[in-house]
Symmetry: C3
Subunit: 156 residues, 3 copies
């Protein structure tokens, strides 16, 4: 793992968080490859090998669909989000794919102006560094809780 | 943007957070240029282009004044703060000034020993890399909420 | 301080946080030297020079003992943890030891699935870079509160 690749991956996660918080969903989608998998899963299910997910998009079209719903249909639980990410842990690339673990906390601010912790967890990501642009091949959002305090409308 | 400049900017933000939390306000002030602007503004006002600020210092003297007040006058709402910053997003320097976005969470701990989330948001900063020392030319603290839970006495 | 050493120290802290959250305590222990000191202390005690600690392990054997207790005896307050660390501030190495300050927030998620802030503070660390592997010579966990909301069973 070169320092330069590490910097680029750190930049990818900074973009990931910022695009979500700035509601720039098209830019966020552009960080994923066409075949990429996106999944939100409680830590418990990972630990016990249970198959259930809180959100599962098996490819980028499913993720696009999700974003379209978010932008055009959902009109409740209006809030803004803020992601705080810790430093990533990297494995060495295998076949131009890097496995990365990144802890996160997500906060939501509602229309009354109250900011609250939404949840904490970690991203378990597979990132392709084959092309000129880094792309998520997979992002598994392991949420530390199985009990989501409000609706899980937007991706984490 | 060189890796070295990125490292120096990351170091600047680590100093920024730590000086505030350690109440080393003189050291914190030294991170700003004489002409620098400091402003705390709710996200909503940024979004709708509203001019109001929660705190506005148009130059470093106004910021010095604020710090003097904080140190010599205020004697209520005694607390300590803790800043957690996410990774910064950088633009390339233009005329030796870099535009940077950095997410943050600020916690306060009161005299009863209770630590609470104070607020989340992002720094929208302009950093001069003209001299041997990096300096803030502007720091706009965009707070995700318009509703500050306690007094906003200390800078964020 | 070279960029490479800075990257390695950042990686050490990413491991530190992740090993604790993944309950890989043996791997976490391996980050400490045999003579290393580990201490959790309220910020107030640091500020006023008071000697009391919330947890004190004068060497690695005491820390091993603590971990053994955690793994084999404690059966209450079941929870998972999540550490979010900010960027570290580095001094230049002196005699192959680097002094580092790193802010942190720790969250706990209980068996009901509720994630809460446990505490915030900073690590005041001394890291040996003499060997091929970085090792903690000392880690002082300065907790911003003297009032720990639940049992302090696991290291921070």
């Amino acid at each position: 793992m070169t320092a330069s690749l590490r910097d680029r991956i750190s930049g990818l996660f900074a973009d990931y968080a910022w695009f979500l918080d700035a509601e720039r969903y098209e830019d966020w989608l552009a960080l994923f490859s066409e075949s990429s998998m996106y999944r939100i899963v409680p830590r418990e299910n990972v630990q016990y090998g249970l198959p259930g997910s809180l959100m599962l998009c098996k490819n980028k079209d499913m993720l696009r669909d999700r974003i379209t719903t978010l932008l055009e249909v959902n009109e409740y639980n209006i809030h803004t989000t803020r992601h705080l990410l810790g430093a990533s842990r990297f494995d060495d690339p295998v076949d131009d794919v890097v496995a990365v673990e990144t802890p996160f906390a997500v906060y939501q601010t509602d229309q009354e102006g109250v900011s609250r912790l939404f949840g904490v967890g970690e991203y378990q990501s597979r990132i392709s560094c084959a092309g000129s642009k880094l792309l998520f091949e997979a992002n598994v959002v392991q949420l530390d809780t199985f009990s989501v305090p409000t609706l899980l409308a937007d991706p984490l």
